[in-house]
Symmetry: C2
Subunit: 424 residues, 2 copies
Amino acid sequence: MNSTTAPPDAGGRIRELIVTPIAFADPPLLNADGVHEPLALRCILQLVLEDGTVGLGETPGGSARLARLQRAAKILPGHNVFDTTALCAAVDETLLPDVPSAHERGWTTSAIEVACLDAQGKLTGRPVSDLLGGAVRDSVPFAGYLFYKWAEHPALDGRPAIDDPWGEALTPDGIVAQARRMQELYGFTSFKLKGGVFPPDEEIAAIEALREAFPGAPLRLDPNTAWTVETSAYVAKRLDGVLEYLEDPTATIAGMADLARISPLPLATNMCVIAWEHLKPAVRDNAIQVLLTDHHYWGGLRRTRELAAVCEAFDIGLSMHSNSHLGISLAAMTHVAAALPRLDHSCDTHYPWNSGSDIIEPGVLKLENGEVRVPTGPGLGVTLDTDALERMHRRYLDSGIRDRDDSGYMRRVHPDHRPGLPRW
Amino acid sequence: MNSTTAPPDAGGRIRELIVTPIAFADPPLLNADGVHEPLALRCILQLVLEDGTVGLGETPGGSARLARLQRAAKILPGHNVFDTTALCAAVDETLLPDVPSAHERGWTTSAIEVACLDAQGKLTGRPVSDLLGGAVRDSVPFAGYLFYKWAEHPALDGRPAIDDPWGEALTPDGIVAQARRMQELYGFTSFKLKGGVFPPDEEIAAIEALREAFPGAPLRLDPNTAWTVETSAYVAKRLDGVLEYLEDPTATIAGMADLARISPLPLATNMCVIAWEHLKPAVRDNAIQVLLTDHHYWGGLRRTRELAAVCEAFDIGLSMHSNSHLGISLAAMTHVAAALPRLDHSCDTHYPWNSGSDIIEPGVLKLENGEVRVPTGPGLGVTLDTDALERMHRRYLDSGIRDRDDSGYMRRVHPDHRPGLPRW
């Protein structure tokens, strides 16, 4: 990095990046891979500036990503927090020899970019959305994220059971009941079902039950590439006019392109177009009609705006992906979604599944009427709850869990569960 | 606009936009349309906030663009300067019924966006490049912009002659001499020749003379669509290995796509891909290999970063276009070019042709070693010279000139000059 735009004493000099792995309770949510383990892993970033300002970030955990963040942390001190592009490029360059996947490197740079923007907002007294061109909407719509789930975790390995008031959902009626509860609690007016769990006809029946229960509500289904192109085409025809889009029915850009030629439904992805290098082939082959962006791996919040511009230029609809997350991620998602000139669909969020856990002080982020109001305080507008951070870090340390393994957990319960997709 | 992210009293509330048309001396530079008139027209924007902060902008003049800016000025007061996206969308919407061209509306919104960013930088104490992700380079390379030109303006209509030390340049030797002087004064290490003036073989000879005089210096030629596809192909073959790219040899995306299939040289444009809606067909048809961006019509500085991301995703090289301009534009061009992760070519600039005129106080912007150092002060980092502004506004008023007309001026001198391209 050769940039010296801001003199070293102008504020914004980075002292250190503190990366804290945490664990928090996660219900037994089912997906094509298996089932969510009792604990979800995240990493919390505190980017500390020389003047004591702290920029926050949050990103998925796991030993590889944690190690990369710790490695990135070594090169940040002394640089200016406003030099975000150059900092992220330097981190990317550091990781490149060992991490060939641009997508994987993106998780690291993205987390750092968000922490930089939070710090920039705090230094300048502006909400992060203002650093992205300003919020074009006061609140951001989210979809109720429905999961097939078990009533309880079968294997808690001696750890205390989590508070899971959601109960079992393994049938169309169970999914509708879950959706009703989601709507009652948070006011969602659109729903996404995580599929790929049961044979396609059962999941079609669940969607049809949702359609009947929520007439006019936008619906979508995401089997996480559990299906062949043929099965996907069958589902797309069955659910034509019912879903707003079909998300990742089948794997790869080539598979999606084959399907797109015969599917009456728009196809969406957060699995086959997950790095900048995938955009060109996806557009060339008309493989997707909707892109689920995710600032956690596309390079951060400014890059998400840039990605939205690509989607605008190439007539690709825009939606937003979510993994299990807490409030720092929700704040970041809300700021960037508020700043996007065109947001075609409500955003995904796992937030209702966090069992009431959070590492931010309560009060700022509320899911009401299916929306989250954009925080108006400086930066992300949320405050780290250091006690909660310590508690969740302790839980991480005590758990011994270092990597997510939905498939392994499922096999411990159902030894006949075979990994490998497509399944149908 | 429904955004209320920043409370009205948080700073940044817009009081008014003052738009001042100005005129400054321009030498008789030749191009495919005709010849530059003795005065170039620009509009200077002063976006005044309630707290007295002023954001500066500069954009081409002309009666239609001036009228649009004045119309836009009416809707800005009371809004927050950080709501740039929403403000520009509101301006765009206001113009839409009467200005169907997205490109034309882009000139207006872009000028306002730059003024907003200058004000934001001043409010937050950061250079504009920091608001764009930070400068990844301390200085920005520019190309020496060579023109065929007459020694003097033949028709000054009684106005005093301008100080034009450049003399005539109508031959390969004249162009080489101009390039040498450019290099001597400003240190340029790359050159662009504005072509479309003489028959292609003469312009090829000029480029070959430049190649001989400046071995290894990147060269490019821009005839502003003066040629047919066939003529363009002939020139491209003749100059293969000599030019880094051939700029707008022929008109339209279709014409460029036809040419691209047979041209050994990369093709560049700032004429057929000039609005977001042009990107999709241009990429689909592989019509261009280099895009000359211009923040004055692509939507401003943040949009230019977004455009650069499109170019990155679709393997299109990035360069920068310039019209006759003064220091506010040069500062904006420098900030955004400094912030672009990848800038593949030196930027164009007419700045050496401004006859020493400027509306900013001297000292910040210097063309040295072919580069401009990125200003480090808040906002664009330049200060309006109000005396110069008044003087140039007076010149505009007195001149009676309200629209650029290179072709009409040429016909006054050479009545046989026929407009209409391609000419060869």
